[in-house]
Subunit: 346 residues, 2 copies
DNA sequence: CCTCAATGGAAAACCCTTTTCTCAATATTG
DNA sequence: CAATATTGAGAAAAGGGTTTTCCATTGAGG
């Protein structure tokens, strides 16, 4: 650690032979001066490695160039991609992000929230692990704007979620497209709004009679569901769309244990594109990606607009999911053909 | 969003009928005044919901009450627990944490670092996914203190790592203790320092002839290693210590496929205690936990001490790992007996 | 010579807390 | 009963570096 003297705008001004006022205006592209002066100041600043002190800047601009990200997602399954997107959208603007993990503890949430408000954050992004649950803290009367990403907020809030129905549609249509006829959806607990949305879209494509099985979000449930389907007398499916990648992994493992070929006999699609699960499955999972990083980027852009006082339409924005092809689904020939068609169209 | 006027110390002073100077002193337990006055001011502040503006405070105290956490761990496997610990240690002191994910991009790292320095962070914690690799940015001549946690730093730095050798020793000793005789260590690439440390400790306990197999950090390698061990003519092990939980999962799955009972015939121990892997394995993995959260807490405490100018001894601090018992290892009776003994001793 | 535009500078504003210094009032001492 | 010490509390400045406002200077054109 070296207590190097920081270069101040005063130094830049002195070296460039102008006043601090002119230096400031030169660097911020405001005020009036010859291009030559502006260029010289900028050059000097660059040469000296001048970087404006954000704290001093905050004084005059009423902005701290910091935002807070509040999450109750301990594993980071959803938060990390969102965070990465948020950061990416903001770092270029010199905005840094406070990350606060609050688990489901209201007191802890309050503590973090207060600490951030004390630091005059320009805005807060609330994010969670479930789009139909709220964080254990009320963010609706804060002195700063709030964007909700992948968590529920008040009706008049700016909220970003992934489009579960569209994602489920993509998956189901893909199964149909590669020739699977008997489709089943093995998914999470009915109480989740996203489960209902996905199941609804699945039925809309697969036919109202298509079977939907609900259970916990676990590999074990994937196993159990396959046991239920294969050990009974009912006709067996040849296409299985799972509510998340963990269930899908359980399903694939269970099928392999029964010597059912994936994707030869049965095609399986997951949901989440959680690399760590999807890539380790044998064969690797074709799955739906929720584009959480893009969701984060959008959240970053929105909170920035709000912080700058730009108008932002409140309401729920659904961002599209996309199908990620690996090997658990087969139909590669069709996949290639379709991609070629898409290329030709564009 | 409600632009509620923030309560300033001026307001507290007015309501309490004292000057701002007195109010400040009352709230900070400095200066001289009657207990009655101090109490009245504090009560007023609480009643009005006064919270000091951290930015103004930073002006006089030369501290921003923020620290930065720099990481290149995209999945958050290591970062998230560390981050949780750091936060936990700091939030009570009113310190907030900037999280910056820099992947392995030096330019991005620089960008984040500059943004944080501009905001006058009181210190920086560098963290990574590997203790023998450095972040792609030089942190050795910054105007603020740095603590390295789970990543390599300069020799004269304050560095925190988990004690790989001790963790491996715990695991191997446990296998020996429950009666396993033929031990094998299936682990990651030799190039990792932690792999060497763990392998060394394994050999020290299991005997110099005990086999160590190196491969990638994947489930697939776990499978492949079992194939190698079981398909050859060599005597088969009855205790397997794995370099991480993913390998261990591959091992357990491969053994099940060969109808080898875990833990009946073979005991398996993992490393990392990555819930999402360890708990989903059938049977759930007994594994070594690196206490990353505690490591984060310690990093938080250290950076705080450094920020306050307290002396901190430089060097590498190794924090102990601990064995987490689940079902892949068996020896439950022994486990219970030992725990009872420990209870009696304490 | 006057006016105007262009350029650049001096100084205030920005924000709110903490700290220093001072003073009055009371207590203590010789 | 002075003279000194102690206590309680307030006024004002410091703390920080940038941005912004407004004014001064210069040179050109009328």
């Amino acid at each position: 650690m070296v207590k190097a003297e920081r270069i101040r705008i005063y130094d830049v001004a002195r070296v460039a032979g102008v006043s601090v006022a002119t230096a400031s205006k030169a660097l911020n592209d405001t005020g009036r001066m010859t291009e030559e002066t502006r260029r010289r100041v900028k050059q000097t600043a660059a040469a000296l490695g001048f970087r404006p002190n954000a704290m001093a800047r905050a004084l005059t601009q009423q902005r701290s160039f910091t935002i807070g990200l509040l999450t109750n997602d301990t594993y980071g399954r959803f938060t990390l991609p969102v965070m990465a997107g948020v950061s990416e959208a903001l770092v270029d603007q010199g905005v840094s992000v406070f990350l606060c993990g609050i688990e489901d503890d209201a007191a802890l949430a309050r503590l973090h929230l207060d600490a951030m408000l004390d630091k005059q954050v320009d805005g807060i992004i609330a994010t969670g692990k479930r789009i139909d649950r709220r964080l254990p803290v009320d963010l609706s009367h804060l002195p700063v704007p709030v964007v909700y990403a992948f968590t529920e907020g008040p009706d008049d809030a700016v909220t970003l979620v992934s489009d579960d129905a569209q994602g489920a549609r993509e998956a189901t249509q893909w199964l149909a497209q590669i020739g699977r006829k008997a489709l089943v959806h093995i998914t999470g607990p009915e109480s989740f709004v996203s489960v209902a949305a996905r199941a609804g879209a699945f039925r809309a494509v697969a036919g109202r009679g298509a079977q939907v099985l609900h259970g916990p979000w676990s590999e074990a449930w994937g196993h159990a569901a396959i046991a239920k389907l294969w050990d009974g007398d009912a006709p067996r499916p040849d296409g299985i769309f799972c509510g998340n990648d963990q269930i899908a992994r359980g399903v694939v493992d269970a099928l392999r244990e029964r010597n059912v070929e994936v994707p030869g006999d049965v095609s399986v699609i997951g949901f989440d594109n959680w690399e760590i699960v999807a890539a380790a499955t044998r064969p690797p999972l074709t799955t739906i990606d929720m584009n959480l990083k893009e969701l984060g980027r959008e959240a970053g852009r929105l909170i920035l607009d709000l912080a700058e006082g730009k108008p932002v339409e409140p309401g729920i924005r659904k961002l599209p999911c996309k199908l990620v092809l690996r090997q658990s689904c087969g139909g590669d020939a069709i996949a290639v053909r379709n991609q070629e068609e898409m290329l030709q169209e564009s």
